[in-house]
């Protein structure tokens, strides 16, 4: 539990973000954001509450909301599309999440831990999800459509007339050059730094992997020069 000065500092981090004044103009308290919010239907989360807490500078409740509530947002931004004042509650949540990560809040680490596997898949393959991950039992929301991905996946995927999609352990094939470009983007935009703050072990694994890939790429470039 943070003391008041720390909570004030966290709020200062949020409101000094360059996007803050653009995402928050005030609040008419009409509640259209919460009414339209898919997450509010399932979780103890109300975008109007987030906006009100920020607008009234309630640093204690802001800190409290950052422990769990802000992670319920699906970032669909319907709130921003509906707000008559053109606030972006979802955009404010994005800022709060970034501050929670930059400050290394334990709650953020706990919430994000289950996503480590997705992160690893993403960074090692350039894909979040691959066909061989789709187990019918895990996707009840697909309904009867799930039948379409049962059977011999390799054969099914061969039927797609795009060569980079004829894979099973990745959704599409990502070239070495593209991968290295993505690593560069993640480095320069601070994604890897955030990862290090949230999960040091996962960061080490991923960093080793990236170094290896970069070496492969350098080798490949040298081979091209020799030809």
């Amino acid at each position: 539990m943070a003391n008041y000065a720390e909570m004030q500092q966290i709020f200062d981090d949020i409101r000094s973000d360059f996007r803050y004044d653009h995402e928050l103009n005030g609040c008419l308290n009409c509640g259209v954001c919460t009414a339209t919010c898919p997450s509010a239907h399932f979780y103890d989360y109300s975008p109007r509450e987030i906006v009100q807490l920020l607008w009234t500078e309630n640093v204690e409740q802001i800190y409290d909301a950052m422990q769990e509530k802000i992670w319920a947002c699906a970032q669909c931004m319907t709130c921003a599309a509906r707000c008559p004042f053109k606030n972006s509650p979802g955009g404010l949540v994005a800022i709060m999440r970034e501050v929670a990560i930059a400050r290394g809040l334990q709650s953020a680490k706990d919430v994000l831990r289950p996503f480590g596997r997705v992160m690893l898949k993403l960074i090692t393959t350039g894909n979040q999800l691959s066909p061989d991950m789709i187990q019918p039992d895990h996707f009840p929301d697909w309904g009867p459509n799930i039948q379409k991905v049962e059977g011999d996946l390799k054969v099914l995927r061969k039927a797609i007339p795009v060569k980079t999609l004829q894979t099973v352990d990745t959704a599409w094939e990502v070239s070495l050059k593209t991968s290295v470009e993505m690593y560069t983007i993640w480095e320069m935009t601070g994604v890897l730094k955030s990862l290090e703050m949230m999960d040091e072990n996962l960061f080490d694994v991923i960093e080793d992997f990236i170094d290896e890939k970069k070496e492969d790429y350098e080798d490949w470039l040298e081979e091209q020069d020799e030809d």
Binding site: G31, V32, A40, R82, F85, K86
Partner: protein
């Protein structure tokens, strides 16, 4: 050529503001020339078939009807219906207007009483207007009240529950309408009472962001609608209107007490539509050489010493062409604009006489 510039004032538009301006000009011994683009006089209250007016409670056709008769029966007043002004040249004391019927009118001054355009609810598709038969505008609901029977247009049943949504086309940056339309809160409370009066088994709910029943309308409309007519007020902006299997409308909002989204069934949903700038304002601005303010309404001159002025000398304005306005205040402004125009003609005459 019609008129004499020294004693004629051109009045453009024959709604509440234009009709009152014309009446004052005539009463002061000057000659009004009224040009109305529609084929009937009376403006929005007559053209859109409003029911009982706020705050008098008189039927629109009676109240505005008297204003129309006063102008039509005046011998010194000339009225052009189904006619537009297509050109306006000259200077204060010596203007010449060209009309769409080919006639020319000489006038010393002009008053724009060109009014507004109702917001078109099609521009807020998530609220179901145009999709569901039982989603109506306040204008349509006024017509239903004037017809004397409250029913669902889809199948004629008596509605158990009616929702009125405020600020449709007002106070909404998403669709470029940043103004409050001023009248809809009071009109909606009035409408809620009229619905209850005609259909005692129907419950009316009003969904609001703020209630702006200004001045004496607080107790005469807002409080009365609750105390005597049991109108329910819910602070929530509706996210969307959909339909349930049994044909009722579903209204999705936030229960702001518990901060949870809720879905509530209704039989009729009414959009309290706002007031847009007249859709002809770009043309009016060009023809009369007057500026528009940032929302697209007619721009005011400095107000304190040039009341009812525009950005062009000798051209005055009144009513809802300036901004969303009530019928009563539009009428007052019409008289004020008439006084300004007459004073201008007097000043010019004195100057000419030396």
């Amino acid at each position: 050529m019609q008129g004499d510039a020294s004693d004629t004032v051109l009045v453009v538009g024959a709604g509440p503001a234009g009709l009152s301006a014309a009446a004052s000009i005539a009463a002061a011994g000057f000659r009004p020339v009224v040009v109305e683009k529609e084929d009937v006089l009376g403006g929005a209250p007559i053209l859109s078939g409003y029911a009982k007016l706020v705050p008098s409670g008189e039927w629109a056709k009676d109240a505005i009807g008297r204003m129309v008769a006063r102008v039509e029966q005046d011998a010194s007043t000339t009225v052009f219906k189904g006619t537009k002004v297509t050109g306006f040249e000259g200077e204060p004391g010596d203007f010449t207007a060209t009309l769409s019927n080919g006639e020319h009118v000489k006038a010393g001054a002009a008053i724009l009483a060109t009014g507004f355009t109702h917001f078109d609810s099609i521009n807020k598709p998530e609220w179901g207007f145009g999709t569901y038969e039982d989603v109506l505008t306040t204008t349509q609901m006024e017509q239903m009240v004037a017809g004397g029977k409250i029913f669902c247009p889809s199948d004629g049943r008596v509605p158990e529950r009616v929702a009125i949504l405020l600020c449709v086309g007002s106070r909404d940056r998403q669709i470029g309408r940043e103004w409050c339309s001023k009248i809809c809160c009071t009109v909606s409370t009035n409408l809620a009472m009229e619905i209850k009066e005609l259909s005692p088994t129907t419950d009316v709910f009003i969904y609001y962001m703020d209630i702006r029943t200004f001045g004496l309308y607080e107790d005469k409309f807002y409080w009365k609608s609750q105390e005597e007519f049991k109108t329910k007020f819910v602070k929530a902006r509706i996210a969307e209107v959909t339909t349930s299997g049994d044909g009722r409308l579903l209204v999705k909002g936030e229960d702001t007490l518990v901060k949870r989204p809720i879905v509530i069934p209704f039989d009729i949903v009414v959009h309290a539509i706002g007031m847009d700038p007249n859709e002809d304002n770009p043309e009016i601005s060009k023809v009369f050489g007057v500026g528009l303010e940032k929302h697209g309404f007619i721009d005011r001159a400095e107000f304190y010493t040039s009341t009812c002025g525009t950005t062009r000398r000798g051209v005055f304005a009144a009513g809802s062409c300036y901004a969303p306005e009530t019928i009563d205040d539009s009428i007052s402004q019409g008289h004020a604009a008439a006084a300004r125009a007459i004073a201008e003609l007097h000043a010019l005459a004195r100057k000419k006489a030396g």
